[in-house]
Every structure is written in C-alpha cells, then in structure tokens.
Symmetry: C2
Subunit: 206 residues, 2 copies
DNA sequence: GTCTATAAGAAGATAGAC
DNA sequence: GTCTATCTTCTTATAGAC
C-alpha cells in the first residue's frame, strides 16, 4: 500500500482505539514505518489526516448507499422478493446487517472513532446518527412496509415494528464494540430476537 | 458548595463535553473561579480529579441500587403489585427509567463521559455496560419474570421479551445524548413503543 | 521522501510569597 | 488556600542534509 494511504489507515486504527487527542503524530509514523517529520511530506498537519479519514468515509458511504439502493429503488421488484420471505431469510437480513456493521474493518474502526469523538464535533454526531440510526431505520422501514403491504407481516405501526426489529441489533452492536468477547453470545441473542420478532409480527400465526 | 466538590463537578461537566484529554486543568480552574495552580492544593494531579469522579459515581450507584432493590428483594410483594399492572403503569415504568437516565444531571454527564472514554480504559467500558445494559436488563427481566408468572404477560422467552422492552429505550437514550433536540420526538416514540409492546405480549389480547 | 536536529508552543505540575 | 512566576516535559511542526 502506498504511504499516503497507509498513514490514514494506521491513523484510523489509532484514533478508534484512543481518540484523536491521545494519538501523536509519532505514533502514526511508527506504525507506518517512518519517522514523524516524514508524515508532513504527505499531510500538512495532524488535523489534515483526520479530515482525510472523514473524506474517505464519505466516499465509502456513498458507494454503499448506491449498492444498497439498487433494489430499494425498484419497490415493485422488492415487493415480489419479500412477499414470500421466510423466518430464515429474515434472520439472514438481520444477521447480515449486524455482521457487516461489526466485521467490516473500516466501518468498525470508523464507528468507534465516531463514538469517541462525537461530542467533540457535532458534525461527527450527525454522521453517526445518520449511519447507525436513521438510515438503517429508513431502509428497514421501507422493506417492512413492503412486507406489510404484501401481507407477510402484520402491524398498524410500521415505524414501531421497525424499531422493534432494529433497536436490539443496534444495542447488540454497541455491546460488541465495547466487549468483543461477547460476540458469540450476541449472535445467539440476535437469532432468538428475530425468531421471536417473526412470531410476534408474522401475518400467519402458528 | 465547597471548592473540592466544585472541582469534581465542573471537571465532570467539561470531561462529558470534550473528553479528558481535551480539558485542561486551567479550564477546570476557570469554571471553579480560581487559578490552575490552586487546583493542586485539593487534588495532586488531573488524573486524581478523574479518579475522584469515578469514586463519587460508584458511591451514587451503590445508593441507587439499594433504593431500586427495596422491593426487588421481596419478590412475593412485587408479584402482588405487578399482577394487575395496566398499560399505563407499564408506560410509567419505561418512561421513568428513560427520564431518570436522561434528566438526572449527574447520571447524564457521567454517561456522556463514559461514552467518550470507554475505549481508553476497559474498566470504564465495563462500568458503562453494567449500568446501562446488564443491570437494566437484569432488573427489568426480574419484573417481567414476575409478570409472566402471575399471568399478566405471556412469552416463552423472558430474556428476549425484556430485550424487546429495553433495547428501544436504550437506543432512544443514545439518540437524545447526541441530539437533545430530539427528546420530545423520542418520548412520543417511547410511548408508542410500550403500547405496542403491551399489545404484543399482553396475556389478555383484545 | 526520508532522515536528524531543533524551534515553538502547550499543558501539567511545583515553588514560594501572601 | 490562592496567587504569580517558573520549571519540565511533551508534541506539533519546520529546516535543511541526503
């Protein structure tokens, strides 16, 4: 990897572990394998490295949003897919979201950095909210709206149903960010959650 | 308020807004109304101020736990109370927990500080987990266990039911910590959540 | 582009007068 | 217990050789 990219990559790792103020330019340089002054040939300041991380993240989020909405844009096609969705497929959706959030290396490090820096800069709090609260609720809400319309799920309040689906996923994610050794337990809980969710909201109750 | 107490109080406010590393001893002193060197007549270092905050919090948490468990310890008395619980009472329980977390000034500042510093010190992550994840789940789980036994609620998995009750409360709390102007909306969502929860789990379905 | 040497400044902490 | 003056250390950033 070229040095400029390696600098932002190692900086993100360190920022996500200790926060911006507790990471020194010399720490970043050491992990890159150069000395601190050499960093300044690539970025004009420590802040510029941080800004480059934010920019890179924006680029990735836009890419992802594009990928996620390929089907979302064509609601009629999605309705067909979700009409006959099974419990196992519902688990797959939830687990997929959870595993992506937890295991995508860039996403995980970036979220941890946001968590630490969120009160320091209001813009970062907004990015966190959009990425891990509002966007997932909107996206999942749209899918569940289709599933209610097509008669797979039943509720008179899709937003609350979506909250009931997503809030446990969100909470388990924040648990695993703090205590990664609880991941195996979290995955089991997640599966039990979705099975129960399906029993509660499925249109054809057994 | 005496100076020593005012120091930890102002320090907690600043740490919760900016994080430990971004607060200088001179900032704390300024808010207390003295100069930086005077701080050292009360605490031997900046770290000692931080430690005093943690200690004070431990003291408060123990007090609260004692208060909360007055009834919890006598399960048979609680069973009687929760046997005929109404939807409004369920909303009162959830709202009470939410409002306490959100509006108790010490709790709110302390939680924000923990949120920022959690990856910096594993012990802080554990305190956060215990206070805002594990203890509420255990306590609510015990109450719901009683309610299932007494026939008010119905489920074959109390832990997941408790997760369904608490995870939305937790998520709404983290939203309001970041974006306080969304509190009014959060309270409405919370009430709608609990009404739906009650419909889903109530033993006497209407 | 990387290095060594070093400037510039910030922040924690101490000394000693009052 | 509070102040001013100061020390010390750490950290960002620059200068200039290679």
């Amino acid at each position: 990897m070229d040095t400029k990219k390696k600098i932002v990559d190692e900086a993100l790792t360190l920022f996500s572990e200790r926060g911006y103020a507790n990471v020194f330019v010399a720490d970043i340089a050491e992990r890159v394998g150069i000395k601190a002054p050499s960093i300044y040939k690539h970025y004009k300041s420590k802040q510029a490295i941080f800004d480059a991380i934010i920019e890179e993240m924006n680029r990735r989020f836009l890419e992802e949003a594009g990928a996620l909405n390929i089907n979302g844009a064509d609601a009629s096609a999605d309705a067909e897919v979700y009409k006959h969705i099974s419990e196992e497929q519902l688990i797959a959706i939830g687990s997929g979201l959870f595993m992506y959030f937890l295991h995508d290396d860039y996403t995980r490090r970036f979220r941890k950095m946001l968590t630490i820096e969120q009160f320091h800069d209001r813009k970062l709090a907004d990015v966190y909210m959009k990425q891990y609260v509002d966007d997932p609720l909107t996206y999942q809400g749209m899918l569940f709206g289709l599933m209610v319309t097509s008669g797979v799920l039943k509720t008179d309040n899709v937003d609350i149903m979506t909250l009931h689906f997503y809030a446990p996923i969100y909470m388990l994610m924040t648990i695993c960010d703090r205590e990664p050794e609880r991941e195996a337990e979290a995955i089991k809980t997640l599966e039990a959650h979705i099975r129960q969710f399906n029993r509660l909201y499925s249109a054809d109750k057994k």
